[in-house]
Amino acid sequence: MTYLFIAYAVFWGMTFALVLSILARQKAAERELSVLEVMLNRHATGMVDDEERTADETRR
């Protein structure tokens, strides 16, 4: 019975580890993608320049 229990525990443990690893990598990639998209959009609409200008003025 012990061997049976360990065998099924190994199966479920490894399956959950694989699923969690895939989901974590998916979430990380989605987050990174959305940050990069925001950067690209900001640049395309010239928002970066405006923000930089405002930051420069504030510093002065």
């Binding site: 049976l4 699923v19 990598r25 990639a29 990069l36 950067m39 640049h43």
Partner: protein, 233 residues
């Protein structure tokens, strides 16, 4: 197929897989009779063979995707090969571990250099090397090309693993041969349900793992675009 219908289909497969797993567990522990000589430990067999089946199926997909990549040079095939190889290695590991856990009470040893066990261990090593090799090459197209060649050659061991118990003298049981399955009615039904469920589990995992690769590629492309426009240093 558009992305929303694709996601709906993926959800349906995931739900069916979950239900299949519950049914499989019920059948393995309640529905299937206890084997006369091995007792309860024989119930390892249902998941052991199913994990080995998924491993081999995954490597078959690596083989097909690798050939398709070498013919078309399309990144999608490389993504599919990598995703399938990773799942294959995990399931082959499960098959080796659960097999060893079955061998100990049955053969009184954790491991023996039996043809089936040896060829399976070689198969596992081949695909671990495949994954390590991928991690060692920086340039994406070169990595994809070399991996594809490795994926095609590595597959040679899969039919050898399958035929090992038929070609050579072995202590590993033969589940089915030219005369059919060596299982009775309830055991056979449980075994078939497990095989179907595990195939669905493989498809579910493959879809999600492929998505990781597609997202990673999108991130890489966007980074390149931002670097070209000197937004990202």
């Amino acid at each position: 197929m558009n992305s929303s219908s694709g996601r709906a289909l993926s959800k349906i497969i995931t739900i069916v897989t979950g239900l299949g797993m519950l049914i499989s567990l019920y059948m393995v522990f309640v529905f299937a009779p206890t084997e006369r000589t091995m007792g309860d430990v024989q119930r390892i067999f249902y998941f052991h063979v199913s994990t080995a089946w998924v491993g081999m199926l995954a490597f078959l997909v690596v083989f097909i995707a690798s050939i398709a990549f070498l013919r078309s040079q399309k990144r999608e095939w490389d993504r599919l090969a990598l995703s399938s190889a990773e799942i294959g290695v995990v399931f082959m590991t499960m098959a080796l571990v659960t097999g060893s856990l079955w061998a100990k009470p049955t053969w009184n040893t954790w491991w023996t250099w039996d043809p089936r066990l040896t060829t399976s261990a070689i198969l596992w090593t081949i695909y671990v090397v495949y994954l390590v090799l991928r991690g060692a090459i920086e340039e994406p197209m070169q990595r994809a090309r070399l991996s594809a060649i490795f994926g095609v050659i590595g597959f040679i061991d899969v039919p050898i693993v399958f035929m090992a118990i038929r070609w050579w003298r072995t202590i590993h049981p033969v589940v089915f041969d030219s005369e059919g399955f060596d299982l009775n009615g309830r055991m056979l039904l449980t075994f078939v349900v497990c095989l179907i469920t595990f195939t669905l589990l493989y498809v579910t995992l493959l879809v999600q793992r492929y998505r990781v690769e597609a997202l990673t590629d999108a991130v890489r492309q966007l980074k390149q675009q931002l670097e070209e426009q000197e937004i990202l240093s």
